[in-house]
Chain length 206, copies 2
């Protein structure tokens, strides 16, 4: 059904990118601790995570890191298309792989291929909605509510895969890992949540 040459690219990219860009995609492994790009650097490649886990983070004035996004599958820094510099760091939390696409090739294709531009706009629209949901989540008081909101919005069917444990998730929720561990324990005790095969599962459908 699918061309063997396409097998290296995940389905979302095959649907999104025109053929000439798919040919330019370069898969590369990335290892824990690696900095895919750094704040202030000039964007030259658009990156797409296919395996492992990457976080976008920015340093506060006290040197504390604030996690802006956690990605296990999808573009990172897609809004840097027309930026002169990155405004945050991309750090690999769990080793995996990324696909790199030359930024200028994307720009050329967007200008020439209006159907591609429409799909790109749809992707950005989706990202905007995801970010609004994250803002909504961070506005909730209470770790438990934030956690349940995360599972509902990001998980499918009340299931959320835990990539590299709860710790990086805690940062995304804007709470300490201790608080998150306690919240998970309490929700499990009350039977509202279960941990199964590296997933969090909400029990009472509500």
């Amino acid at each position: 059904m699918t061309d063997p040459a396409d097998k290296r690219l995940p389905a979302p990219l095959r649907k999104l990118l025109p053929a000439e860009l798919q040919a330019l995609c370069a898969v590369a492994p990335c290892t824990r601790g690696e900095l895919l790009f750094a704040q202030g650097k000039k964007p030259t490649r658009m990156l797409y995570v296919t395996a492992g886990e990457v976080v976008l983070q920015r340093m506060g004035r006290q040197g504390e890191s604030v996690v802006l996004q956690r990605s296990r599958h999808g573009f990172i820094g897609e809004a840097s298309l027309d930026s002169a510099r990155y405004h945050c760091d991309a750090l690999v939390i769990t080793s995996g792989a990324v696909i790199a696409i030359p930024m200028d090739a994307i720009k050329r294709s967007l200008a020439a291929d209006s159907a591609f531009a429409s799909r790109w706009i749809a992707m950005l629209n989706h990202e905007v909605k995801r970010l609004r949901a994250q803002c909504e989540r961070l506005s909730l008081r209470g770790v438990k509510e934030r956690l349940l909101h995360l599972i509902e919005t990001e998980g499918g069917e009340g299931r959320l895969p835990l990539g590299s444990g709860l710790k990086s998730m805690a940062a995304e929720l804007g709470v300490t890992h201790e608080a998150l561990y306690r919240a998970v324990a309490e929700l499990e005790k009350h039977g509202r949540l279960r941990r199964r095969e590296n997933c969090l599962v909400v029990v009472g459908g509500v």
Copy 2:
């Protein structure tokens, strides 16, 4: 210098929209308490706030409202371009005016005019960055830090205009209005902040 017919449109829209869409723009007043659109409704017009203040909000399960965005000048619900339904409410907080553009006309222009599509993508990129900054802000502990972050990122030159008072701002910061009033008072007492002509001004440029 400028054509009299263009005077009704703000500069950002004149720069963004192609002529045929500018001709379709309809300015309409909106009054406090008005619901510009409601969650679940089908988007037919793209809205741009030119005066007053509008908030995007969603109701929590306890009936408490969570503010996703506060807009005094710019598009609202721009990510609903390809959505079947709105995912939040748009409520007018301070009476003003909005510009409405037919959604299908925008879609047609985006498909036909690749330069316009590029400008639209740039606008979405900007919005994504703004939302990431908001997530970063909501991850900060302490009302004072959030407030200073807001003034730094959204205000120009350390000045942030207060549209309709601090109360709607408190919701955007994810804190109670009491906490925000106290934070402002304390920052003023320590000389780090001043209130001037309906603006918040950071004193010690950091």
